[in-house]
Each structure stands twice: as C-alpha cells, then as structure tokens.
Subunit: 307 residues, 2 copies
C-alpha cells in the first residue's frame, strides 16, 4: 500500500496547505462542510502562495459520495468540526489509513468511535493564512511529525511522511509522536487561552518576566504545570514549550492564535481539546494544575457569555 | 466641628447618590472633571430616582476655585481618577476631613501624599445606575461603613455617619473599617476580574460548582486565597465574601461589574487597587496567591492590548 489517493477533511489553513502540496504528487480530494466552498475549489482549484508558489487541481465535495476511494484520509478540522468529520467518514473508505492533525489530545479516540480504520497521529508546526476559499499563504515552513496510533505499523507512517516530503512540505515519521504532541499541547495550552482572554496576539508580552505583573510569569507557570503533568504521564517532551514560546515571540510579526480569532468571532474555541486535555490528564495522574483549571473555567465561561 | 458643607469629588454613581441625599441636609458642592457636566448640574440640579425620589440643588465646578470651604470632602472617584482628584485638592481646604469611598485598598495613602487632612476611610455596598449627568437611580440601598484613618478621632467618623443617615442613606461608623473594607476587597477581587475576562455579568455562573469546569470553583478558589491573605494580615473579615457572592447572584437581575464596563469601553480598569492590592498584601505577608496573580497579569495584559 502506498499513498496515491488522499482525501482531506477540513478546509482550514493546515488542510489547504496539505491539499495544495500533496496534489503535486497524488490525486487529492477534499471534503468541505460548505457546498459553495467545494464548488469554488472545483471551479478554480487551490492556490498556495508564500513559501510555496503552487496551483493545484483538487476534486471537492460536501461529503464522501462520488469521491474516489482514497488510501489516506487526513482529518485536519478544528476541534469543533472533529465529530462531524468522523461521522461523515463512518462506514466509508474502510481500507484507508486515517491521519488526524489537530491541536490538543484525544482526536484519535474520537475518530476511533466511528470506524476501525488504521490510524496515524500527526502534529504540525507549520502555519499560514487563508486569504479565500481557494487561496492559502504558507508562512511558517516548520515540520509535521507523525507516528503510528495503536497497532498501525511504523512503515505506514513512514510512507505518509515520504509522500508529504515529496510534495514539498517538511515531515518526519516518529516511532512515538506523543512527545511532540505533548510539547505542542503544553505550548498551545500556555499561549492560546491567554491570547483569547487578553486579546493580545502571541507577542513579546508572553515572554516578559521583568516586572511582577508581566504576563510571562503566568505563561511560564502554565508551562511548568504542563511539564509536571507530562512527567506524571510518563512523557519525555520532544521540545521545551517555554523555549518554543520565547522563540515564537521573537519571530517579528506576532502570530494571532486561532483561539483568539474564535473568541473575536464568538465561535466555539478549542479549549476542550487543548486546556481540557491538560486538566483531565492532570486529574488522571493526580497532579495539581490550578492555573490550567482556572483558564479552562474562564474560556468556557467566556463561550457561555455569547451563547 | 460638624458636617454642614460637603464637597464631593467624583461624579459616578456613588458620588451622585451621596450628593443628592446630602444636599437635603447640608450645603453640597461637587467637583466634576468635565466642565459640561458641572454646567448641567448647576443648571438642572441633580435628580435621584429609585429607592429615593429627590431633587437636589448643588454647586458644581471643574476645580476648587470659587467653591465654599467645606468641612467634609468626599472622594468617590474610580481608581483611575484618584490621583487627579488628590492633586486637585492639594493645598486646599486644610480644615476639612477627607473621606475616601473607593474599591480596593490604598486610596487613603494616595490622598495622604497630597495633604495632611484628617482622613476617614469608607466602604460602600450601595449601588445604582447613572442615567445622565444629572440623574442617578438608587438601586441597592445597602450600607456605607466608615471609620477613622490614622489618628482621626472616632467621634468625627460618627458625625459623618450621622449626617449620611440623616440624609436618607444607610451608614454606620466603625472603630475599625478594615474588616469591612477587606470583605468587599476580596469579593471584588473574586468577581470583577472574572467578569472582565469572561464578559459575563455577575450572574449564577459565579456561584455554580456542580461540574468540574463550573466558574464557581474558580471564584471560590479566589475567595479562599483572599481569606488566607486577610488572615495573614491580621484582619478578621466583617462578612464572608463567598456568601456575599452567592447572595448577590441570587438577586434576580445580574449586576454588570464596573470592571466589565471598563473593559467593554477600553478604559483603564480598577485592577491595580483591587487585585493588585491582594497580590501586594500576599507578598508582604508571605502568602501564596497564584490565582489572583494570574488574573492580575491577565487583566493588566488586556489593558495593554488596547493601548
């Protein structure tokens, strides 16, 4: 089995970057929630600008009907779209490997509830900006790491990583992707809710630790709590989340975390898969996580303020 | 010395309720930051509706010039206006008692930096709504407590309380007002930043403790931290802030805390005098206050997001 036909579910930045690149080396179909989005992609194709300059032909649809049988399905929705995506796949493409590329923990379990596909876990650090339904800008050309979930053979993860690399993106197959997944989890849990609550993009405030009121103390405290939870869960982190935070704030232009975009737009956030995961893992392993628990309650309450 | 001429600095709800009532039994002048506000009051007087129905004549000005020498000055600005008010009084009215009615701790010290007036500390639980520069609605007819600051004789606090009671408001002089001041401080520090960050008015979410993500756990944690700080500072609280919170959320219509109004309007909040006071007192007495420290950083960062 190789990777020659890919179906991508989730039309955000990550799904669009994967679709645009993979279409250079495979046949790519995409499932979009909105029919007009699918129509636009069928008519115009998908344009990638920035670090890559590409134009891709993709076959788009609002559900699985009529799409060719893929050997790889990539689920790259936001947390709020995950259950719907898994339901849409239920009963379809039984021979395909399904790879999840979401923030937080637990996406694989949710997909598993809807079918017994072979599963691969991925975590990505690339980023970009969607300019329209048919154009995405590739901004940070950082890596995607992926590894087997449950009894998927490592060789399968390597085939997928090879296809992604051949398409022009950076990817690496890891025997165990959880150390990278947890590093990103702790980074996201320390940064995204703070951005969502303060209205600040991920800027130098997040690394400032000079004055007692500086925000960096809180972010550092969140990272330290997250590291203690990882330790209790037996995870040796792939990268230090505090260093990831400091480096990211020095990149020049401040990143606008998606949780802040969600709050601005009064949409459900990814708090449940991100901070909720840290809080649940902390409880499971008997570790205190008062700061994550506080932010979990604050962002959850903020969502309830506009419902 | 008695209370026959009162000058009120600060044109918010509390200053307006005090001015409207005290004008029934004393001569009242008011200092307003905005000249048009002063002009409107001189032309139309001040109307109180709700729990009282009054119309008061007051003499209004934008500074102390031309105002009669008062025997009592009441400073009831918001935190952001306190330094300006104290500066405007500097060098004036040396015989007057100055009474501060602000949230948080430390207003007296700031006034003291600008003159050696006799000082009285007050904390009020009454509330209302300003409908215009010349009309205020009296909603919660709860008490104002006041007591001597430094070497002010208790008899002077009692004279002021008597005048306020004679004017139709509820007031009580206490030998030591700090237990009441701290009760309100801890209540405000547990409620106001949470409202400011979540966008929720002070509603039943703040007392909910059923589900693990419920906001009441955070509010309760903040109250418990605040009580530990009070204990370390040798303060025996006048009221239990958690009970104050539960009672207030059961009043029917949810109160919209001024810190949430400030955030909505992108104005500086009272975070420094409220949560900042708790954090500083915790540090002074060697008590941990991680939740207050987190909210202090979040609200301070939120202010910086719009500056």
């Amino acid at each position: 089995m190789s990777v020659s036909r890919v179906c991508i579910v989730g039309g955000g930045v990550i799904g669009s970057l994967l679709a645009g690149h993979l279409a250079q080396v495979c046949e790519v179909s995409v499932i979009k929630r909105r029919r007009e989005h699918a129509d636009a992609l069928n008519a115009e194709g998908l344009r990638v600008t920035g670090k890559s300059e590409l134009h891709a032909r993709v076959q788009a649809a609002a559900d699985t009907r009529g799409l060719p049988e893929p050997d790889l399905v990539i689920v790259s929705t936001k947390a709020a779209g995950l259950r719907g995506a898994a339901q849409a796949l239920e009963g379809h493409f039984p021979e395909a490997t399904v790879m999840t590329v979401l923030n937080g923990l637990g996406a694989e379990e949710i997909v598993r509830e809807h079918g017994d596909w072979q599963l691969v876990s991925a975590v990505t650090f690339m980023s970009g900006t969607k300019h329209s339904d048919t154009e995405v800008e590739y901004i940070l050309d950082t890596e995607t790491w992926l590894g087997p979930y449950e009894d998927t053979p490592f060789a399968r993860a390597r085939e997928i990583a090879d296809a992604i690399v051949a398409s022009g993106l950076k990817a690496e197959a890891l025997e165990d992707v959880r150390p990278a997944q947890w590093s990103k989890l702790i980074f996201n849990a320390a940064v995204n809710p703070v951005a969502a609550l303060t209205g600040l993009p991920h800027d130098p405030h997040f690394a400032a630790e000079d004055d007692p009121a500086d925000l960096g103390h809180l972010v550092h405290g969140l990272v330290d709590e997250g590291k203690a939870v990882a330790r209790a869960a037996g995870i040796e982190l792939h990268d230090d989340p505090w260093e990831m935070n400091v480096l990211a704030t020095r990149r020049g232009s401040a990143h606008y975390p998606s949780m802040l975009e969600d709050v601005d737009a009064h949409r459900p956030t990814e708090i449940e898969l991100i901070t909720g995961s840290v809080v649940r893992e902390a409880a499971r392993h008997g570790v205190a996580a008062p700061l994550h628990t506080a932010l979990y309650a604050l962002v959850t309450a903020k969502e309830s303020s506009w419902s």
